[in-house]
Assembly symmetry: C2
Homo-oligomer: 636 residues x 2
């Protein structure tokens, strides 16, 4: 029985953890990002993204400024605003969005073409350099924004604009036997966008073109090489023969390992999963499962970070997960949430939602400063003062979140993830409601209205109240997290027998309004160990409580965090507290050791250990107080 | 009382460890290197170094080929041949050297100028780009060769050639008030060469110019920037503002930290030490001691490797000693032997000779394949299959010694070190003989002939027999290694009372021919620990026996060496054996553990350990058998 994630409009989040973050994004971050996009914010980097549209629309003089994909900053902001307007109304924000949408319409060319870089700066180069020039990528993001804005507000102006654009793309690119041109995007994104456009319009050509781009990728002859051979110019100087970088080394269906630029990769995998969910094509399903498995079983940090090397912002090899030279781009973790969502549509397995949860509470959320002003692109698991951000191989690993970047992909990506959280929490089919995430608030679903109360992730009690609609007979399926062994489930205060399968507990019955299901997840802090194939983590332990991965910061533990040891028998004490800049959190404290060596550089005197209280804070919260060292994996 | 290292001619080495290596260098490596320099060897890289001289001499047609410092390969080879001819006679090798020396003379220009790159290729650019173009560097190496060849053979043809060249340099560069031009070498080397030329000629201008180059370095205004501003061409594209790279950031006398390109740095420090030893200038002495201390106490691997980052082949910051991304160039460890030798001339302290020994038996010797055909430039402390030599940040870390390089600095540098070993083992003053290293063979010194018998470093017994000359009353000083606590010393079989000071035991008496001093150094294998400030080594232990540092290789221990643990109470068993490709060595075996994790990437199940015999081999010998992982620091 096919199940689909709900839309963001179906869920009203009222959650002690996420609501303050959503409020921050809505009340501060999105207006602030709009100021940046309109060059009204007092920051060093000039965005010029909105001004580019004005120039393209013929309403301002000047030159295009920014990255070739500068338009996508506006698109992702619009998408986030769309979701935000479902969280709570914000007429000012909606007005700003509407004005920008109208501007986008005026910047669109007659035939539906929309890209300010080419309209303003290089009109003679349109569509000639797909490898480097991100036209399809920008269209993709704007299509996603259009779909979201329509779903959220019912307004279809942007949707019409982007259908014209999508129609242009679909009429241009396709199998040569249909009279169309061969082509694949340099940075995947259009595929997922066309899938989403297909969902709400039912227009088959969007599905077909999405499938065409996925099918064509990695085929011979190398499209990017053929394209480059025809050009006497380049944009970035990318090498078409570096095929793995853009997942162009094998037909996508035949790919088995996550390689190359991690955001490109996972945007593609998410689209593949959406296509597989839609078509039930066994080959696509198999490729999705294999690539998913390769990432989560061999190429992912415990925080959910993926893409372990700065060279190409890319996946490395199996188990190569250095903590201090890591890339782990925020956008890649965001993309994994998309991938997981579509894998869940293929098959409701807890392992997908577990990863979605891991990203949300750790490696994606860590990208954002708690004041909404600063963002990490790179999410390290170890920061060393004097080394991180400074030395060769570590220069990209910043010890402090920087302000808005020239390449501003991550901040609006986080904004759109956080404001659309509701759609990841729930799914439904004709006869089953799925609860993937434990997020407080009301889900207005086809089968019932379901209200969740919880202090998750600090507390493991999740109380779920049902209000019935027409048909009282259906199945309620709730994820049992992979990290939890001793969970209990009750119905109206009594233990309930539920069928447990693939990480979900299923309760099928005649539901009555007022029924209460309660899931209890013991939240004892746990020691986590990496596979010994992960060379960087041998001899170390990480701390986790519920879905939250912890880290040590210098501000709590003093300098040289590498010299701290956590003996295997030390008791881990959770400690609820309110930390300046961190809000309400549960810390973990333990009686550890600080190793002190002889003062010699090398000595045959073994280092001695002195007692030291270790205090671990949630990973996502690091870097919000005094800057200094940080470390996830602690020596045992 | 001033003491001087002996010359290489004074010592006839007959040592179970070093003689086979010297024989290999003499019988195979030097003829083989000559074949390479003359393009007669069957290898991929073309040297062309001798041919460049032929073209410069007008005796061949063609273009210059190779690095701008290609001449220095010939110079270092000649220097090594010179030393080799003191080890044993080799008329073929001497003939080849004499012919090349004659050719060098014919390639020299009228005014003494000697550099085939500029003579052949860019005569209009002579002396204009000292930062990049290595003219003074090449002269320096050829001067060292000239001094060595004269000392070894008594033949002065090359010495005359290089005195003309040195005179040209000394007449050109110097303080402006003397009417000379300001200048400093881009790659230090000329300073030490001029010091050596001064020692054997007594010509003050050589000393003065060496001192000028050292004094002028790091002064304002930035010489390299001034020079570059006058040029409309560059050679490598070096940045003059990157002053630390070439130790040009502060007056050399005021430098306190070892920074920048490690070979440049230590060649300079060695020259500074030679100057300090000669002049007794307190400021130079202080700078030398400070820089020495910074290296050996904060910036040196346990193997003696120095220069921990590939970026600039350079020193990094204090305690930043990553094992797997290390540079640790062979030439830099060779240079530390030179530095140590001159520090010993300043003050006979065991710490200097200890480091000399550490380099010789570990981080320098590791540069050479045991067949003399292949060489490491980079000497890692951890090699990981699939990572080393392949991934970003690890590409320079080769898991196997390569053949001769285009930039062939290290192979002849090793050759000249190994053939000149004798001069590092002994020193003498008017009334004292110093034994710095325990190398078997006969030292013919002013005060006595002293014969050493030993199986060092495999055995700690060093038997020293004296044959008297005129004055029987003098002091014999023998180093007590810093790594040894329970040493004993006897004279003619009886315990002897010796004054021990700064790492040397002093015996003053009337010596008789036939006297035997025996030093016994217990050779129990030891666990070594790094300072906890060395982040990379926390929680690990290294093995050492005598001066030999050990490592684990995959060929002996199976894959994933990082998963092996050596418990602190495991007994370390030395095991004398003969290993294919390694010859006679003492291994260390111990009952260790192999850690096995759950097959999950992350799990709350602690890894389990299974017994595993660990077998460690001498570090210098690694990479001589099957290729695979290697690791010096073992998890405890």
């Amino acid at each position: 029985m096919s199940q689909k994630a709900v839309t963001v409009k179906d869920v009203k989040i009222k959650d002690s953890f996420w609501s303050p973050i959503q409020d921050l994004v809505m009340d501060f971050m999105l207006p602030y990002q709009a100021d940046i996009l309109e060059d009204k914010a007092d920051i060093e980097v000039k965005s010029h993204a909105v001004q580019n549209f004005r120039i393209a629309a013929g309403e301002a003089e000047g030159e295009f400024h920014g990255m070739v994909f500068q338009d996508s900053d506006v698109a992702k902001w619009l998408e986030a605003v769309a979701y935000a307007l479902t969280v709570k109304s914000n007429p000012d924000l909606e007005k700003r969005a509407d004005e920008i949408i109208a501007l986008i319409g005026r910047a669109q060319e007659e035939d539906g073409y929309l890209n300010t870089f080419f309209t303003v700066k290089q009109p003679e180069h349109k569509w000639l350099n797909l490898q480097e020039c991100h036209e399809l990528y920008c269209s993709g993001h704007m299509i996603e924004a259009a779909v979201a804005y329509y779903e959220a507000t019912g307004k279809d102006e942007l949707l019409k604009i982007m259908r014209r654009n999508a129609d242009l793309i679909c009429s241009r690119f396709g199998p040569p036997e249909t009279g169309k041109l061969r082509g694949i995007p340099g940075h995947q994104e259009i595929e997922l966008a066309l899938m989403r456009l297909y969902y709400i319009t039912g227009e088959k050509s969007y599905l077909e073109t999405a499938q065409y781009f996925l099918d064509e990728r990695g085929r011979e002859p190398n499209f990017f090489a053929e394209e480059a051979a025809k050009l006497d110019w380049h944009h970035f100087g990318m090498k078409p023969e570096n095929r793995e970088y853009a997942q162009n080394h094998l037909p996508a269906k035949e790919q088995t390992e996550a390689v190359g630029h991690s955001v490109r990769a996972v945007y593609m995998y998410a689209a593949m999963a959406a296509l597989a969910a839609e078509t039930k094509d066994e080959e696509w399903l198999k490729a999705c499962r294999t690539l998913w498995g390769n990432i989560v079983n061999k190429r992912m940090y415990i925080t959910g970070g993926i893409g372990s090397t700065v060279a190409g912002e890319a996946f490395s090899i199996d188990y190569d997960l250095p903590n201090d030279t890591v890339y782990a781009e925020t956008c890649a973790s965001v993309a994994m949430v998309f991938f997981a969502r579509y894998m869940l549509e293929i098959e409701p397995k807890g392992e997908y939602a577990d990863i979605m949860e891991k990203m949300l509470y750790n490696g994606a959320l860590s990208g954002m400063q708690q004041d909404g002003r600063r963002f990490f692109y790179v999410n390290p698991l170890e920061v060393v003062p004097g080394v991180s951000g400074k030395l060769f191989g570590h220069k990209h690993v910043l010890p402090k979140r920087p302000e808005w970047y020239g390449c501003a992909c991550c901040p609006p990506n986080l904004a759109r993830l956080i404001t659309s959280l509701g759609q990841y929490a729930w799914a439904q089919s004709d006869d089953t409601v799925y609860c993937h995430l434990y997020v407080g608030g009301l889900a207005e679903l086809n089968l019932a209205d379901i209200n969740v109360e919880t202090n998750y992730p600090w507390d493991g009690k999740v109380k779920i109240a049902f209000t019935q609609k027409n048909n009282p007979s259906y199945t309620f399926a709730i994820r049992i997290p992979g990290w939890c062994k001793d969970w209990t489930l009750s119905l109206n205060g009594q233990p309930v027998k539920a069928e447990v399968k693939d990480g979900y507990a299923y309760i099928t019955r005649e539901w009555e309004t007022g029924d209460i299901v309660e899931l209890n997840l013991p939240m004892e802090p746990k020691r986590m160990y990496a596979n010994t194939a992960v060379r960087a983590d041998i001899g170390t332990v990480a701390l986790q409580r519920g879905p939250i991965v912890y880290c040590l910061e210098e501000v709590d533990n003093g300098p040289n965090l590498a010299a701290l040891h956590l003996p295997r028998d030390a008791k881990l004490l959770p400690k609820k507290t309110n930390l300046k800049g961190l809000g309400d959190v549960v810390l973990i404290e333990a009686e550890g050791l600080r190793i002190e060596s002889s003062s010699d550089l090398y000595s045959d005197t073994p280092p001695q250990s002195k007692p030291a209280i270790l205090r671990a804070v949630p990973y996502y919260s690091w870097g919000n107080r005094e800057s200094g060292g940080m470390r996830v994996w602690i020596h045992e």
